[in-house]
Amino acid sequence: MTETIELALKTLEAQLNQPLETALEACARCGLCAESCHYYRAEPKVKHIPAFRAERLRSVYRYEHDFLSRLFPVWTGAKKLDEPTLASLTEIAFSQCTLCRRCTVNCPLGVDTPLMMRAIRAVTTASGTAPEILVMLADAAIEKGKDPSFFKDMFLEQIAEMEEQLRDITGDPTATIPVEKQGAKILYVPLAGAHTILPPAAVFNVAKEDWTLSIFEAANYGVFLADVNRAKQVAKRIVDEANRLGVKEIVIAECGHAYASYRWDVPNWFAGQFDFKVRSLIEVLADYIRDGKIKVDPTAIPEGVTYHDSCNLARNGGLIEEPRYVLKNVVRDFREMTPNRDQAICCGGGGGLVALAEYAERRIAAGKPKAEQIKQTGARIVVAACENCRLQIGDLNERYKLNVQITAITDLVVRAMRLPKPLPGHEAERLFEGEEAAVVRE
C-alpha cells in the first residue's frame, strides 16, 4: 500500500460518523435521484446518477468494513482502494457533483450523497490529490490571516478611493466606508474586489447603519476542499475580527458558500457560542425595505427579471423568501423560474467548480438545464445572490446565447434607490432605463 493510499484510507476512517455511515449504508438503488441531478438532466447517462457516483465510494467502504467483501470482492462489488480508483474518485467529487443536495431532498430515504462527495474531497485533499488551485486559493487566504501587513496599506488605499466614488454616487460628502471600527453594530464581510463593497456601502450609508469592514474577505476555499482544518483557519480571521471589534452581527456578502459556512458550519467548527449572529446581506436589505430605512422605487427597473436560487442560500441555507421580497420591491416584472426555491436546479457552478479550468467544459454542459430555465422566463436580467452562480451563469450566457444581464441583488437595490449617480459599470443600464421609461410614459 502506498503512502498516499494509506493516508486516504486513514482520512476516510476518521470521517466515519453516524451521518456518513448512514449515507453509505442506506441507499435502496431506486434511482429516483437521477432526475434531481442537473448532470443527469443535461446528459441522461448512468454515470450521472448520484447513487451511481456514490457507489464508487461505497465499494471502497465495503472492502474496508465488510468481511465477506474483503474475501470475495467480486461478489459484493467491493473495491480495494488503489491509485487509479483514488484518481477516479477525485474526478467524480470535483467535476461531477456541485454539492447542491437536490438529490438528497428528493431521495425517499434522504440519503446524503453530497456528504459522501465531501468525504471523498476530504480524502483527496488529505492525500494530496485534490485540485491544486483550490488548495492554492485556500492557502493564499490563510497567508493573509498570518500577516495582513503585506496588503493592509494597499487595501486601505483602495477603500479610500472607493469612498470617493461612494460620495459621488450617493451625493453625500460625509458617506464613509469604515474599516475595523471598534464597537460597530455590523461587520460586513465582502468578497475580494470593489463590486461587493461599493453597492452595500451605498445602502449602509443611506440606511445610516453603524457598520464596518475588516480587511478580510468572505470566500473560503477550505470549504470546497472539505478540509475543516484549512476552512477553520480561513474562518477564524473573521471570527477573531468580530470578537475584537465587539460587533453584534456578521453580515455576509452575496456569496452562497460563505453564507452557508458562516451560518451553519462555523459554530460547529469552533464548538462555541458566539456573541454575534450571522446574517446574509439579503436579510439586511429586506429589513431596510420593510422598516423604511431605504426608499426604493418599484418602477425603477422595467426589464423582466428572474432570480436564480443559489443552492447554498436556498436549499442549504434557508434563504428563500427574503430575496424575493427584496426583488418584488425593486423590479416591475419579476418572473420565477420553474422549479424554484428549495427545488431550484443548480446552475452547475457550485462546489468550487468555477475555479477548476480543467473541468470547465463539463461544468458548462451540466449548466444546460439552468440555461433552458432562464430562456423560458424570457427575462432580460438574471439575478443571483452568489458569486460562483453569477460566474457560471455568465459562462452559460455566452455558451447558450441567453442574451441576459447577470447581476447581484444589491446592485438592483442601489439602482432602485435612485441615487444621484449610478454604480460604476451601470451607466449604460441607466441610459437604457431612461429610454424604456420614456416609452412607458407614452
Binding site: 491544486e132 488551485i133 492554492m136 486559493l137 492557502d139 493564499a140 487566504a141 490563510i142 497567508e143 493573509k144 503585506f150 496588503f151 494597499m154 487595501f155 483602495q158 468578497l191 475580494a192 474586489g193 470593489a194 463590486h195 480587511i215 474577505e217 470566500a219 475555479a355 479550468a357 458569486e387 460566474l391
Partner: protein, 78 residues
Amino acid sequence: MSDAKLSLDFKGLLCPMPVVKLAQAIKQIQVGEILEAIATDPGVMADIPAWTRSTGHELVSLDKREDKTFKFVVKRLK
C-alpha cells in the same frame, strides 16, 4: 522592452479568477522566467501577494497605474 516571457490580460476578471488564471499561466513558463499581467479588480492588490507568498513564487512588482488598472510581474521560482 519587457523581459516577460508571457503577458496576460486579466481586465474584467473578478477575484479569484485573476489568481486562477495566474496559477495556470505560471506553468507555461520555465523556472527563473517572469510573466506580467494587467487586471482591473482591486482585489488583486491583496490576492496576488498572498498567492505568491503561499506558493513560493516571487512577486517582482505590483503597481497601480494611471488608467486605474493594476500591473503585476511574477517570477517563477519552482
